[in-house]
């Protein structure tokens, strides 16, 4: 019976793929069953993950293939489920854009299979299954990136993405091969012995895994696929790519780190690497005028925060003291909560940028402006999500960032402290990028290029954006709804009890607030804020109302049509002069480190790009090869 809970989402999504394939001859409606079935499957995923979080691990055995959902997988599946529920509902409206242009049945197949493979990656219990589903996830997402296949940019972005993922997978497979050579085991059950491998081998395995998963996560300088691929995908898919797929890399890294054990220098390297990614990502992000590129670069930065938190966790856990184990679990929880809060906020923002495309028809922020009046709900949801991403209290991003800083600074290690300082700096840069997005798209004066027909998007799209924005708000106001699953998720792998972790975690402001309410009428920051906010809003609204609306704005004498406009391209240009060194370093890093690796695969990708007629053949061969491996794993041959 339990196994059924685990299997239901799989069956539902497979059914969705089949239905979409059958609807090839009624292409105009093919997106509806795919979206509805995906939404149902997402609810099933949420159910199964909550079941696992409350009742413990479930396993299911198909012949010899073992699939298990333990608490850590369940946390990822919870995030996946919430986000994919929102994007699936959003798809109901958004995909109308493509009716008659691109095949909707093809979208349905890829979308459901993409969700299916993302669901299966955390369930894999051996290295072969893991890598097979990992590659299938790459493949289906590459198809989705290239969905608008008649646009050469989309096609090129997909090929670049695919080629770089091949490199990344190469590193992961190399790490797996090293572990296999050393341990003669592929099952996760037996990999616990990895901790006894020689130090040198462990270092090598960690380096390979970090680089391999770093490609998927898009950590600088391995990120160059990300700002191309995420904007080119349809927006509902971009939300999934940025929201959860790149975080699957951290699932892999966490999982294998738990096998490998921890080392002080691994942690410091990860933390510094993450800080670098945060700085470079945000610096690039504030310069973008393309709404989705801006968000994509910001994802590069936020991934850096997760790497920083994970690095801090490794630093703590490398210490033999038992008290450090709890501190390490805090850092782990911080990473997990950042994954959740970023999934929600970035998911909502990507969906909002899709809504902008839907109604204005462009990604260029210079051609927008004043859309808050036309699209109030999109504006509201992206305002909440944007402020949450920037870490404005009391929203979700603040919870995770506060936890990251607090746990990182308690390592009292100078290098980590430096990483934290750069992360704090990156945080205000994130705010700059987000406010640039918000103000140039929604707030400033309406640009003349906005079409007269622009209007608010359909209700289903609003619902998708609002679900994720509401999650940002909920996590911020009551962090426990994210902290409890994360604590349960990380407790068992670290041999701790969730209660122990949770009882030591009473310092966050709003938790303090909840406790104080029970004790006595003491002042808390939030109560003061609430009182002053209510008083001032009341002053504004009710006391002696004297508000004149629709006054002419002051433009120093010029009329609205001749007044100087202020478009997205004008924001923060001064930074290119003052901090130009950051932008130059980025280029050098990219050229000297990544290019040789990419060039190695260039031959492959070039031929792949030029001869389009072989594409379907090549893909078919790949799918068949992967399925053969899967079947062999099923039958226990490997």
């Amino acid at each position: 019976m339990q196994e059924f809970i685990l299997l239901l989402p799989t069956i539902t999504l497979a059914l969705g793929a089949i239905v979409s394939a059958l609807l090839r001859w009624r292409d105009r409606i093919a997106y509806i069953p795919a979206s509805v079935i995906s939404a149902i499957a997402s609810l099933l995923m949420i159910t199964s993950s909550i079941y696992v979080l409350t009742h413990g691990m479930i396993c299911y055995k198909v012949y010899t293939l073992l699939l298990c959902m333990d608490e850590l997988s369940a946390f990822y599946i919870l995030v996946l489920g919430i986000l994919s529920f929102a994007t699936s509902i959003y798809s109901l409206g958004y995909m109308k854009r493509f009716i008659g242009e691109y095949s909707l049945s093809w979208f349905g197949i890829c979308y459901t299979l993409f969700l299916l493979t993302m669901y299966m990656v955390p369930l894999a219990m051996d290295m072969i299954t893991f890598i097979v589903f990992w590659e299938l996830m790459t493949l289906t997402s590459a198809f989705l990136v290239a969905y608008e296949s008649r646009r050469p940019e989309a096609y090129r972005a997909a090929v670049k993405y695919f080629a770089m993922m091949m490199v990344g997978a190469g590193f992961i497979i190399a790490a797996f091969a090293l572990m296999y050579a050393e341990l003669r085991a592929i099952s996760f059950m037996q990999l616990g012995a990895a901790i006894y491998m020689p130090k040198f081998i462990k270092d090598l395995v960690f380096a390979f895994l970090a680089v391999g998963f770093g490609f998927k996560a898009g950590i600088v300088p391995l990120h160059s696929w990300l700002p191309d691929a995420h904007p080119e995908a349809p927006s509902n898919v971009s939300a999934l790519l940025s929201g959860i797929m790149i975080k699957m890399a951290f699932y892999g890294l966490m999982r294998f780190l738990l096998f490998l054990g921890f080392d002080l220098w691994w942690g410091i390297a990860l933390a510094l690497w993450g800080a670098l990614s945060a700085i470079v990502g945000t610096f690039m992000s504030i310069m973008q005028n393309d709404s989705k590129k801006l968000l994509a670069y910001s994802s590069v930065a936020q991934v850096g925060y997760i790497a920083l938190a994970l690095g801090v966790a490794v630093v703590f856990l490398s210490s033999p003291q038992p008290s450090m184990r709890i501190a390490g679990s805090f850092a782990f929880i911080a990473a997990l909560i950042h994954i959740m809060s970023h999934a929600m906020s970035k998911g909502s923002l990507f969906m909002a940028s899709g809504a902008l495309i839907y109604s204005v028809g462009t990604r260029n922020l210079n051609l927008m402006g004043g859309l808050g009046r036309i699209m109030p709900f999109t504006c509201l949801s992206s305002l909440i999500a944007g402020l949450a991403l920037a870490g404005v209290p009391p929203l979700s991003g603040f919870v995770s960032k506060w936890m990251i800083y607090a746990s990182a600074l308690s390592t009292e290690h100078p290098l980590i402290a430096l990483a934290v300082a750069s992360a704090m700096f990156a945080s205000i840069l994130t705010a700059a990028a987000v406010t640039k997005f918000l103000s140039s798209a929604f707030l400033v004066e309406r640009a003349p290029s906005v079409p007269e027909t622009a209007s608010e998007v359909p209700e289903s799209m609003i619902a998708g954006m609002m679900i994720t924005a509401a999650m940002c708000f909920a996590i911020g106001l009551c962090p426990l709804i994210a902290i409890v699953p994360a604590a349960i998720g990380i407790a068992r792998p670290l041999i701790l009890s969730p209660d122990v972790i949770l009882s030591s975690l009473v310092i966050y402001p709003s938790i303090v607030f909840i406790r104080l309410l029970g004790v006595a009428a003491q002042l808390s920051s939030l109560t003061v804020a609430a009182i002053i906010g209510i008083v001032s809003i009341a002053l504004l609204m009710f006391y002696k109302v004297s508000i004149s609306r629709n006054v002419e704005e002051w433009l120093s004498g010029s009329t609205a049509t001749t007044a100087p406009g202020y478009t997205a391209a004008s924001y923060f240009t001064v930074f290119q002069d003052i901090y130009g060194v950051v932008y130059r370093i980025r280029l050098k890093l990219l050229k000297s480190i990544v290019d040789p690796i990419i060039r190695f695969y260039n031959e492959f990708s070039l031929s792949y790009e030029l001869e389009q007629r072989y594409t379907s053949l090549a893909i078919t061969i790949m799918v068949i090869a992967l399925s053969i491996i899967l079947i062999m794993a099923l039958l226990g041959v490997i």
């Binding site: 009046r373 504006c379 707030l443 402001p509 609430a530 906010g533 002053l539």
Partner: protein, 307 residues
């Protein structure tokens, strides 16, 4: 003892709200003296705010709802920092990481006000926004580095604990001083008053705000100045405060008075410096702040070698 601490924190919070505009009045009086004018009475800023609260708010044709919602929320967020601060007496409400909460509340409330300003639809507001934000970014780097230096030295992120654990260390004092200098730049005082720049962009972010909305925006801006300086004073004077607090009740009250008076004195000195300056350009301002990075970096280096 706890009751003394709680009362002093409550008094401090209320005093902060009253003092922030009052100190601005003192600054205006002194600035007038420097410039050979008689100047307004020191209650003038309060009178201005009270008058603005009663005046009509104009909402431009192009404005959106956020224009209207942002100022009260900004005020609420900046006032929320007041009970978290350390006014000489240890703050019972303090917790690990409250300094981050304070900084994020200040930054967040500024961001909200800027967004509200751009929601007016006036291009001058957008210019002011971009300038102000660029400066905020540059300052936030300095603040982050200084806070990290303090955290490294004292091993804490709680303001009260930083005070209670501090010792006479050059790194902490340097970090406190660099916080003070940064707070001068961040609170958009004259050489750096780029976002408002009345002769140039006619009030920038504040161009369309009037009446009650302007009063909220002004009050929260003055609160930002006060809170940032108080933070710097707390960290710079931490060893002295610790010495006083350990003396008992009279010592705590003395340290309370020390913190409040030195905050007022620093603000007044800032006001006098402002009287002697003219407005600079954004790129010069950013170059200046990027040179200032040396201070907190030295402080971090000192902290990591333990002095």
């Amino acid at each position: 003892m706890t009751t003394v601490y709680v009362t002093l924190t409550i008094i401090g919070s209320i005093l902060g709200l009253i003092l922030a505009p009052l100190v601005d009045g003192i600054e205006r009086k002194l600035r007038a003296k420097v410039q050979n004018r008689i100047g307004p009475p020191i209650t003038q800023t309060w009178l201005d705010i009270v008058k603005l609260l009663r005046k009509e708010s104009l909402i431009p044709r192009t404005a959106q709802d956020l224009f209207f919602i942002a100022p009260p929320l900004t005020l609420a967020m900046s006032a929320a920092t007041l009970p978290l601060l350390c006014y000489g007496a240890p703050n019972v409400l303090g917790f690990y990481g409250d300094i981050i909460v304070i900084l994020y509340l200040i930054a967040g409330s500024s961001i909200l006000l800027y967004l509200g300003a751009t929601a007016s639809g006036n291009p001058y507001a957008a210019i002011g926004f971009s300038r102000r934000f660029s400066l905020l970014i540059a300052c936030e780097l300095l603040i982050a580095l200084a806070v990290v230096a303090v955290a490294l030295k004292t091993g804490s992120l709680s303001l009260t604990e930083i005070v209670m654990k501090s010792e006479l260390a050059p790194s902490t004092i340097l970090a406190g001083l660099s916080l003070l200098i940064t707070s001068y730049v961040e609170s958009s005082r004259l050489p750096f008053e780029l976002a408002v720049a009345k002769p140039e962009i006619m009030g920038g972010i504040l161009i369309e705000y009037s009446g009650r909305l302007l009063a909220f925006a002004e009050l929260s801006h003055l609160l930002h100045r006060f809170v940032l300086v108080l933070l710097g004073v707390d960290i710079t004077l931490a060893p002295a405060l610790k010495y006083l607090i350990e003396l008992g009740v009279t010592g705590v009250i003395a340290s309370f008075i020390l913190v409040i008076t030195s905050t007022v004195i620093v603000l007044v000195i800032f006001g006098v410096i402002e009287a002697l300056c003219g407005r600079t350009r954004l790129d010069y301002a950013l170059q200046f702040t990027s040179k200032l990075i040396v201070l907190p970096i030295i402080s971090i280096v000192l902290a990591s070698i333990g002095v």
